[in-house]
C-alpha cells in the first residue's frame, strides 16, 4: 500500500480512468451463457470479467459431505491462467481458497438451503480477465447464475468494492487502485434485505471511513441491482420470498 503508483491515482478529483470517486465502472451482464450448466452468467465490471456456472441442486459424489436437513453450497473461485498480468498458475492459491470461502458464506444466507436436503449446489467462478474487484464481480455473477438456475433466493446479492486513496473513499477499484491505493473494502449486499453478506478490509481505516464506504457500496448496489433484474426479466420469474 505504501508503494508509489506509476501515475497519481487522483488528480483534480478524477481517478486514473477518469471516474469520480463514487463512480462505478460500466456493468454488463449476460445469463444462460453455458448450455451445460443449470445456470450461468457472465458479468463485467469494466475490464474485470467473471464467468459463473451453477450445477445443482444435485446429488453429490459420495465422498463429499452433505447435510441431512439442507443443501450444501460449494464455491470455487478461480482465476484463469491468462486473466492476470503475469500468467497465473492454475493450482489454487491461499487467496483463492479464502475468497471461495467468503463467497460461499455470502451466498449461504440467501439460498433457501432447507428446500434441498442432502444435495449440493455447486457454484464455479472463473475470472477470465482481472482488472481489480474480482471477488465482488464474482459474487454478482454467482447470484445471477443462481437465479438463472431457478434456485429460490431470498434476495439478489450485489458485490461492490470500496477503496481509499488518501482520505478519499472510492468505489469499484481497478487494478491500479487495488495495487497502489490505501485500502480495499470489498462488500456484498442483499440489496432489498439490507444485509451485508461479505465484508473484508485491507489497509488502515478510520471507523468513519468504513461507514462512508458502506454507504457508497449500498448506493452503487442500487444500479447494479437494477441491471440484474433487467437481465433476468423475461427469462424466469425469479422466486423471491420474504
Amino acid at each position: 500500500m505504501a508503494k508509489q503508483p506509476p501515475v497519481p491515482l487522483l488528480s483534480n478529483g478524477k481517478r486514473v480512468d477518469g471516474r469520480l470517486p463514487e463512480e462505478h465502472r460500466p456493468v454488463t451482464m449476460q445469463v444462460g451463457v453455458l448450455p451445460n450448466a443449470n445456470g450461468s452468467a457472465l458479468v463485467a465490471y469494466g475490464n474485470t470479467i467473471v464467468l459463473a456456472a451453477v450445477y445443482g441442486p444435485r446429488e453429490p459424489i459420495p465422498r463429499y459431505i452433505t447435510a441431512p436437513d439442507k443443501a450444501v453450497i460449494r464455491v470455487r473461485y478461480h482465476m484463469a491462467p491468462f486473466s492476470t498480468d503475469d500468467r497465473k498458475n492454475p493450482a489454487p492459491t491461499r487467496r483463492e481458497i479464502e475468497i471461495s470461502k467468503v463467497v460461499k458464506e455470502a451466498l449461504e444466507a440467501v439460498v433457501f438451503l432447507e428446500q434441498y436436503p442432502k444435495s449440493t449446489i455447486d457454484v464455479f467462478l472463473e475470472v477470465l480477465q482481472a482488472d481489480g474487484s474480482t471477488r465482488v464481480t464474482s459474487i454478482t455473477a454467482a447470484s445471477l447464475a443462481l437465479a438463472d438456475a431457478g434456485i429460490p433466493l431470498r434476495d439478489l446479492v450485489i458485490g461492490v468494492s470500496v477503496g481509499k486513496v488518501g482520505d478519499t473513499v472510492i468505489v469499484d477499484l481497478n487494478k491500479l487502485e487495488d495495487n497502489y491505493g490505501d485500502g480495499d473494502l470489498p462488500i456484498a449486499i442483499a440489496y432489498r434485505k439490507g444485509w451485508i453478506l461479505l465484508m473484508q478490509l485491507d489497509g488502515v481505516w478510520k471507523p468513519s471511513e468504513v461507514k462512508r464506504g458502506l454507504e457508497l457500496a449500498f448506493k452503487a448496489a442500487e444500479n447494479i441491482y437494477r441491471i440484474m433484474r433487467e437481465t433476468l426479466k423475461g427469462k424466469y420469474m425469479m422466486v423471491v420470498q420474504q
Binding site: N36, A53, R76, P81, R87
Partner: protein, 278 residues
C-alpha cells in the same frame, strides 16, 4: 473430466444409429459436416493473445502469455512452448476441480505436437539471448462448455489465439532481462503452416466428424488427424479400432477439410473482437 456424462437411453441410441446408417444426423448435418463455427480473437485483454471458439455448443477459450525463460540445453536457439489444457468444472457436470486429468493431458499433447511439427510458431524468433534467455510461450486452453469434439475445438482456439499474439518487448540490461509489457510486437506466425485437427468418431461402421457430446458418448472409436493441409503433423488413435483403409481415408479426407477450414479460420482471426461475449 470423465465419460460417459450420462446414460443415453437405448431407444435413443437406436434412433441415432439408424439415422447415421442413412447418412444423416439429428441436427441434419452430413456425416462429415461440421457444426457452425465462430472464432473471435483478442477477447481477453490481459492475455498476449486470445481467442474464443464456438463450435455448436462447445465453447473453448485460449490465452497466450509470454514469460521469460531459459532455453533447453539441446535447443539454445528456440523459445519454449508449453501447451496446457484445463477442463474447469463449469464446463460440464462431470468435470472436477484439480490438475489436468488423462483426457486433458492427451489433448494438450496432441496440440503441442501438431504446433511443434507444423512450424506454425516461429520459435526461433523467441530467443532473447541465445542459450541464455528466451521467451516461454504459454498456450492455456480453457474449456468453457463441453458439447463434444474438444480436440478440434481446442486446436482451433489454440491456433487462433496464437495468430492474435503479440510479444512484449524484452529489455536487456547487462545480464538482466526484463519484459516491457507496454510495448508489444505482433508474433510472426507462418499462416501457411497453421495446423488443424480433424477427429473422426466411429458409430458402427460409419465415420463422423465434429460430434455432439451425445454422439461422442455413443461412438465406438476415435481417430485424430492433424495436418497443415498438405502434410500430416500428428495422429492420435483414441478408442476403438480402425483398418488401414479407414486410416487412409481419414488422412486424405483431412487434408481437403483442413485446406478449406484454414481459409475460414484465417479470415476469422483477422480482426480482433471488441469484447468478450459467450
Amino acid at each position: 473430466m470423465s465419460y460417459p456424462f450420462e446414460i443415453i437411453p437405448s431407444l435413443r441410441r437406436e434412433t441415432l444409429r439408424r439415422l447415421i446408417s442413412e447418412g444423416k444426423r439429428p441436427d441434419n448435418r452430413q456425416l462429415l459436416g461440421m457444426r457452425d463455427l465462430s472464432i473471435r480473437v483478442g477477447v481477453v485483454k490481459t492475455a498476449d493473445g486470445s481467442a474464443i471458439v464456438n463450435l455448436g455448443n462447445t465453447k473453448v477459450i485460449a490465452g497466450v502469455k509470454f514469460e521469460l525463460g531459459k532455453p533447453f540445453e539441446d535447443t539454445p536457439n528456440e523459445g519454449n512452448l508449453i501447451v496446457n489444457l484445463e477442463t474447469p468444472p463449469l464446463a460440464a457436470p462431470t468435470f472436477e476441480p484439480g490438475p489436468p486429468d488423462e483426457n486433458a493431458i492427451e489433448i494438450a499433447r496432441i496440440i503441442d505436437r501438431a504446433l511443434r511439427h507444423s512450424n506454425y510458431i516461429p520459435l526461433r524468433d523467441l530467443v532473447i539471448i541465445p542459450g541464455k534467455s528466451v521467451y516461454t510461450m504459454w498456450i492455456d486452453i480453457y474449456v468453457l462448455n463441453h458439447d463434444g469434439n474438444l480436440i478440434d475445438s481446442s486446436m482451433l482456439a489454440a491456433v487462433s489465439a496464437i495468430a492474435n499474439a503479440q510479444v512484449p518487448r524484452a529489455i536487456i540490461d547487462g545480464d538482466n532481462v526484463k519484459l516491457d509489457k507496454s510495448t508489444k510486437v505482433q508474433l510472426n506466425v507462418n499462416p501457411q503452416n497453421m495446423p488443424l485437427t480433424v477427429t473422426y468418431y466411429k458409430i458402427d461402421k460409419y465415420l463422423i466428424v465434429d460430434p455432439t457430446l451425445e454422439e461422442e458418448v455413443m461412438s465406438d472409436g476415435r481417430f485424430t488427424v492433424a495436418s497443415d493441409g498438405e502434410n500430416i503433423v500428428a495422429l492420435q488413435k483414441g478408442s476403438g479400432y480402425f483398418t488401414p483403409e479407414e486410416v487412409d481415408l481419414m488422412i486424405n479426407n483431412t487434408i481437403s477439410i483442413v485446406k478449406d477450414l484454414k481459409i475460414k479460420v484465417l479470415e476469422m482471426v483477422k480482426t480482433p473482437a471488441g469484447s468478450l461475449m459467450l
